[in-house]
């Protein structure tokens, strides 16, 4: 976690995946039952609906060490709660644009609609996501370990003008 950590020769990204219970989680389950192989890079958090995903969860996952975040829900029109994914779609659009504005590289935070019948598709989504994050490398922004518990005056240096 400290600055001395050198990425292993082969970087295995850690991606937190928020999967909606009714579609995407079931889709992932189907992939497993069908014995479809996909990289072991995702850590799944089951939510009742993609609309449950607070943008804060995404930030928190990145802060605590995730290299990427995947959020997956039902296809528009198929939401178990009728409109959850529509509202989520707007929220994710804003979050995605804002994160990229901030400098979080495009491709770190990913969104998908995967239905309960799309086992192979889910596996492909994960393969693509893993590839993307692998290319980007470990996330070295936002991580809480950047300033590990040192006192303010020693580290922040108050963002003052330094002499050239």
């Amino acid at each position: 976690m400290s600055d001395e950590q050198v990425p292993a020769p082969e970087f295995h990204p850690r991606i937190v995946a928020f999967l909606c219970n009714w579609c995407s989680y079931a889709g992932a389950d189907l992939a497993g039952i069908s014995r479809i192989q996909y990289p072991a890079s995702i850590r799944v958090i089951r939510v009742p609906c993609s609309g449950r995903v607070d943008p804060f969860f995404v930030l928190k996952a990145l802060q605590l060490g995730a290299d990427g975040v995947l959020i997956s829900g039902c296809h528009p029109g198929d939401c178990h709660y009728l409109t959850g994914n529509y509202v989520a779609r707007r929220r994710f659009a804003v979050l995605n644009d804002l994160l990229q504005f901030f400098g979080i590289e495009p491709g770190r935070v990913m969104f998908s609609w995967v239905s309960a019948a799309e086992g192979e598709r889910f596996a492909q989504v994960v393969r693509d996501a893993t590839e993307q994050v692998k290319k980007l490398g470990p996330l070295n922004r936002l991580a809480t370990s950047k300033t590990p518990f040192e006192d303010a005056m020693q580290t922040a240096e108050c963002r003052v003008q330094k002499a050239k």
């Binding site: 994160l99 998908s112 922004r141």
Partner: protein, 289 residues
């Protein structure tokens, strides 16, 4: 608002109206501005007696977003508010979000001060209000309407986006790392009325309380997210910040996202739904695979 020969100034009109409204008991108080002690300052004030009306002032210094006081003001009877463009837009949002009742307010509209005075000393260019200077909702209008500015092109955002992700990250984190977590931005904002802000939560502690860079960035990104579709770009947050952080940059980016994606400009009408509380079945989803 300079007093031309024979013409009554906006300030004088406001004083006169406040006096009348209080004398006629149409309202029980008027929320406006009074003189501040330091040069170039004013202080929000509540006038409850007709004879106090002469303490009200209105000029280029009156930049506070008075709507911020409405949710916590437990006022009996009707309250008159001096509302410029941005303030009136905030009031529209507060009504839509059920934080104030329309029937409890008597909105005295005025043109926003900044648009009249090109040579305003403070605030700096980046801290000023954006959007229409004229009130979008009011019970009466005092003084002349200001000329409508050209549509905001968000050129400052476009210029910033020309930088690489790495450069943007550097610039934003450097700026935000100055934050001392005083929450002046949050408290000056009419949209921030949550009894327990997410940064104050301790069970669980979502965000650390220190000025650790990553915790501070979490606070500001999430506050910007919470402003989506609600921020009226009044600039109160940036003017309140003691450390001179460019807070408008984040809020303006979010406002631009909402405008471009959902065609919504915050607080312009009581009839439009809040953009993140509604949807279209054909919303763009190019970012979703």
């Amino acid at each position: 608002m300079q007093s031309a020969k024979g013409k009554v100034t906006t300030q004088e009109q406001i004083r006169a109206r406040a006096k009348e409204l209080l004398e006629q008991k149409l309202v029980t108080a008027v929320l406006g501005f009074r003189e501040g002690s330091l040069p170039g300052t004013v202080v929000p004030t509540l006038v409850t007696k007709p004879e106090q009306s002469d303490s009200l002032v209105y000029d280029e210094r009156c930049l506070h977003n008075l709507a911020a006081y409405l949710p916590r003001l437990k006022h009996k009877g009707k309250l008159a508010v001096i509302a410029s463009g941005p303030t009136s837009r905030s009031i529209v949002n507060l009504i839509k979000e059920n934080q104030v009742k329309r029937e409890n307010l008597y909105i005295i509209g005025v043109a926003g001060p900044e648009f009249h005075h090109k040579d305003t000393k403070a605030p700096s260019v980046r801290n000023r209000s954006r959007g229409t200077p004229n009130p979008v909702l009011c019970d009466e209008m005092v003084g002349d309407k200001a000329a409508e500015p050209a549509e905001d092109d968000y050129a400052d955002i476009a210029a910033f986006e020309k930088l690489s992700p790495e450069e943007r990250w550097q610039e934003l984190t450097e700026d935000l790392s100055r934050c001392i977590r005083c929450y002046a931005c949050r408290q000056s904002c009419p949209n921030c009325y949550c009894p327990t802000c997410f940064v104050d939560s301790s069970q669980p502690q979502w965000v650390g309380r220190t000025t650790d860079d990553s915790d501070t960035i979490m606070f500001h990104i999430m506050r910007a997210m919470h402003m989506a579709g609600r921020c009226v770009e009044c600039g109160a947050c940036a003017r309140a910040c003691p450390m001179g952080i460019d807070l408008m940059r984040l809020n303006r980016k979010v406002a631009l996202i909402v405008r471009d994606r959902f065609g919504h400009v915050s607080g312009m009408s009581l009839d439009t739904p809040l953009p993140l509380a509604c949807f279209q079945t054909d919303d763009k989803q190019e970012f979703i695979r």
